[in-house]
Amino acid sequence: MRFFEYEAREIVKRAGIPVTDYGFTTDAAEAKTIAERIGGPTVIKSQVLTGGRMKAGGVKFADTPDEAQAHAADILKLEINGHEPRGVLVDPKADVKQEYYMGVVWDGAAKKPLMLFSDMGGIDIEQVAEEHPDHVGRGHFSTLHPFSDFMAKQVIADAGVTGKALQRCTPILARLAQLFLDNDMILAEINPIAELQDGSFVALDAHMEMENEGMGRQKALIKALGIGAEEGTRETYVPSAFEEAVHAVDAADHRGVIQGKDNGFDGNIGLIIGAGGGSLTLTDAVRQQGGKPANYSEIGGNPSVAKACGLAKAVLQKDGVEKIAVMMSIVSNTRVDIVARGVIKACLELGKDPAETIAIFRIPGAWEDEGFKILDKYGIEYCDRSVSLWEAAGRAVEKIQGAAA
């Protein structure tokens, strides 16, 4: 789950990291009030879950409260990359002496969280790492052993930073590392952390992303930030009706896992496919043989009959989908008979003939004997493991697209 800047700043603040005296609002008149309270020049920043807001005109500087109000009114109306802003952040314009970068991410290869620090803040860290590797310090830390400030200090020192900046940034990076773990983050970034002319250090922007799998145990934080359950995991794109329907089916039953996606797909081949790897392989195979899938899906972890049925119904109810192809790599824990029951049940409940609707069923493996008995009874074309994923995908393309053309 991604957070807006105003939420990320609140998370940072709660961890004891200094932030400016900013205010968040959805109302231009209130932006003026906040600017009056701040006194002096301000920055008005659009609150959107997308990059490039500076370029798009979503960040503006104001010398007076009236100007702040005018900018806020403009920015609140400005759509960026298709995203409506959630509101604006009114921030005191900081008198910056030097900008630094600090961030924490997971390193899948080392299997540990990784701290990053650079004295070249305010720009993209990947660019800094590529062009000025000697200006980036890195250090892993343990998820088992206690964290200690020296670990953060080492990372900052490795970026070539010493003196007061080293001393002041050390506890801040240490707190960022701690909040990263405590809050199940997959990204915690302060860019920039700024040294002001008065010598103080303050976070001027923050970027946080929480692991979806960790949200269950982070309910207190999510609630404290005022984020309702209806916001889901805030995917990078707006989920389609199909995606929401499949998600609801999946959430209603803990047995097995199903996923469905149709953003970026606009064909007529309904795909009931799995598991993770099989779905990727089959989607490639369908497309490489000229097929146009109506959707992507995944069945895994031995879903219940109800769940397989729910997925098949959602696919069959998509516009333009008359037939489905039910295909998986050889299954071990997901059962052939259970999936067969689910997809047939979906056809029956929608008043469709399973033999007509299911163009091909290629799921060999666990409980295939029982599964094949079920498929025989309903007259559905199926194949066993002697037909490869590639061949099965080819048959699906031929039967469905051939028929539609």
């Binding site: 029951r341 049940k345 409980w367 009874k377 309903y378």
Partner: protein, 80 residues
């Protein structure tokens, strides 16, 4: 008592349907909650019947021939 869904049918012989101890036991062993133990005995939860995974644990937990799991897609053939 006999209840049929689309793919699976469940039969509990009438002489066992009023045995609360059996009901409780079936309730405990069935991984997909097809059986419900009640004060009166055994009940069958219709919406769960097609979820049957053919594990046979209900047979193991019951006296001889008390329960049958029937594969309706295979001519009503019993699991055992």
């Amino acid at each position: 008592m006999r209840k049929d869904a689309i793919f699976i049918g469940i039969e509990v012989k009438d002489e066992f349907t009023s045995d609360p101890a059996l009901g409780a036991k079936l309730n405990e062993v069935c991984p997909v909650n097809i059986y419900k133990g009640t004060a009166e005995g055994v009940d069958i939860v219709e919406e769960n019947i097609d979820e049957c995974v053919l594990c046979g644990l209900c047979y193991d937990a019951s006296p001889d021939d008390a329960v049958s799991v029937l594969k309706l897609y295979s001519g009503g053939e019993p699991l055992r």
